[in-house]
Amino acid sequence: MCGIAGRILNAPGKVGDDLVELMVAQEHRGSDSTGFAVYGIPRETGYVLRGMGFDKSRMDGDMDDFQNILKAHGSDFLEDPTFVTNEADHYCTRMIISDPHDIEQWINVADEISDRFEVQSCGRSLEIIKDVGSSNDVADKHGVREMIGTHGLGHARLATESSVLPNASHPFWARPFPDVAIVHNGQITDYYTWRDKLERLGYRFLTYNDSELIAVWVSDQMKNGLTMEQALKKSITSIDGVFTYMIAQPDSIGFAKDRFAMKPLVTVEKNGELAAATEEQAVCRVVPDGSDVINYDGPGITEIWGVGNRRAAA
């Protein structure tokens, strides 16, 4: 059992605050870890990175090594990275970098130090914040309520398939595709075989979390020419397990549900702004006046909600 959420605003606003509210209301579904994917105002050039190092006493060395790898790929910090730490061993960082020559080549090399420091999101607008702890704990530690953006995802984790680790929290970035993130409620039963197939194609996974697979799987299908809608539909018969997952991109959030209809999804829309969550009581937190909820309870459903002009995308 996990809780997931999505939010789309008509214009850049306090999407971080809404996502925290959506997750606070679903904390009982899993509070070992919480995470957020926030799509801020997109940069013209350069990328926002969010990353995590596993031993804060080695932070300076990690950063020197990371910067050297950036420079070798024609990139560098555009501002000084900022750091968040507490009594835990790990540290979290936010960086702004100039464009590497080739994102895929750069991240492949950067991942060689991922046993010490891992990049958890990369995008013109996407920022993934994740950590162990409840939604309020994670939100307070990382200032999520203050984050401004157009849309985003949230996740409360009850670990069932792998360890509780800060980097095994959702959302997951679709490494190496910039600005793509997923959250997932459920279990993927054949993730090991799918991971193996994708690793043979050169993709890299940094955790043993089954959900990390989905983002990469969908993105790989799209790289091979499928539309997002086609990829979502194909996932229902290709990926085995129970799931409701949401995948976010700069222009949309899509979802897919397994063919046994095991995991719920509820949405409410008001003035074109959309809130989606596992439970109705969560969407009531951000749209409290009892607007009509839609229950996506059936089997094998997909849909894509556009950001901006929402009606046109579906």
């Binding site: 046994f260 209809a261 109705e280 409290p288 309870d297 089997p299």
Partner: protein, 230 residues
């Protein structure tokens, strides 16, 4: 019967349920408001209790009901009336997944549609749905009747045991091991008698009655392929 209003808000559910139980014991009619679609409201209510929930409720509302009359104004989340022994639950809007799961008796009346697996593993009582029942409704139902007036989703009556699923309207597809019957006039009269107190009886309906094909009762592993849906 005097009326008492209980406000839910963000208070602890146990505190609210204790207030509801106390009000039942005192013989009040209870209005529950500001529910914020929260879970586990009104569990294990006694016979004779009378509750009205304003707006929508979350999961398992009216679960383990022992004979109360419960009215939910709008939608209910998962498992409304789960394991109800007796009583009458009315859901004004949509009932989420597994409404009436494992119920033993009494009536659940849904005015809208239901989510998947309506009446899963029910062991008695009746579920009446004015709209459409969702995917795999009646799954492994052991006894009792599910009566849908507005059609049924895919895999209807899947792996039914001794329960019955009655549908007026379109059935998207049947589940495994279903025996689809043309009901006798006697059967129909029995269903109409269940609908009559709700004001829903209508002799012009074309009913389909589903019972178990009974092949799954004697499952043999060598036949497993016949049951694999994937």
């Amino acid at each position: 019967m005097s009326e008492i209003v209980i406000d839910v808000g963000e208070r602890h559910i146990r505190e609210i349920n204790e207030e509801i139980q106390a009000a039942c014991a005192a013989g009040h009619k209870i209005i529950v408001r500001n529910t914020l679609s929260r879970h586990n409201l009104g569990i294990g209510l006694p016979a004779g209790a009378d509750l009205h929930f304003e707006g929508s409720v979350g999961y398992y509302c009216g679960g383990l009901n022992n004979g109360a009359t419960i009215n939910i104004e709008r939608n209910a989340g998962w498992g409304a009336g789960e394991a109800q022994a007796a009583g009458h639950i009315t859901i004004g809007g949509y009932a989420g997944m597994s409404v009436g799961a494992a119920m033993l008796g009494g009536t659940i009346h849904v005015k809208g549609d239901t989510g998947p697996r309506c009446g899963v593993a029910m062991k008695g009582g009746n579920i009446i749905v004015e709209g459409k029942i969702g995917y795999q409704s009646g799954f492994m139902s052991h006894a009792g009747k599910i009566i849908a007036l507005g059609g049924a989703g895919a895999s209807c009556a899947d792996a039914l045991w001794e329960g019955e699923v009655w549908v007026a309207g379109e059935i998207e597809s049947l589940g495994v091991d279903v025996n689809l019957l043309e009901p006798t006039a006697e059967d129909v009269a029995e269903v109409e008698a269940i609908l009559e107190p709700l004001g829903l009886n209508d002799s012009s309906r074309e009913w389909r009655k589903m019972i178990s094909g009974q092949r799954l009762w004697y499952f043999e592993s060598r036949d497993a392929n016949a049951w694999l849906m994937i």
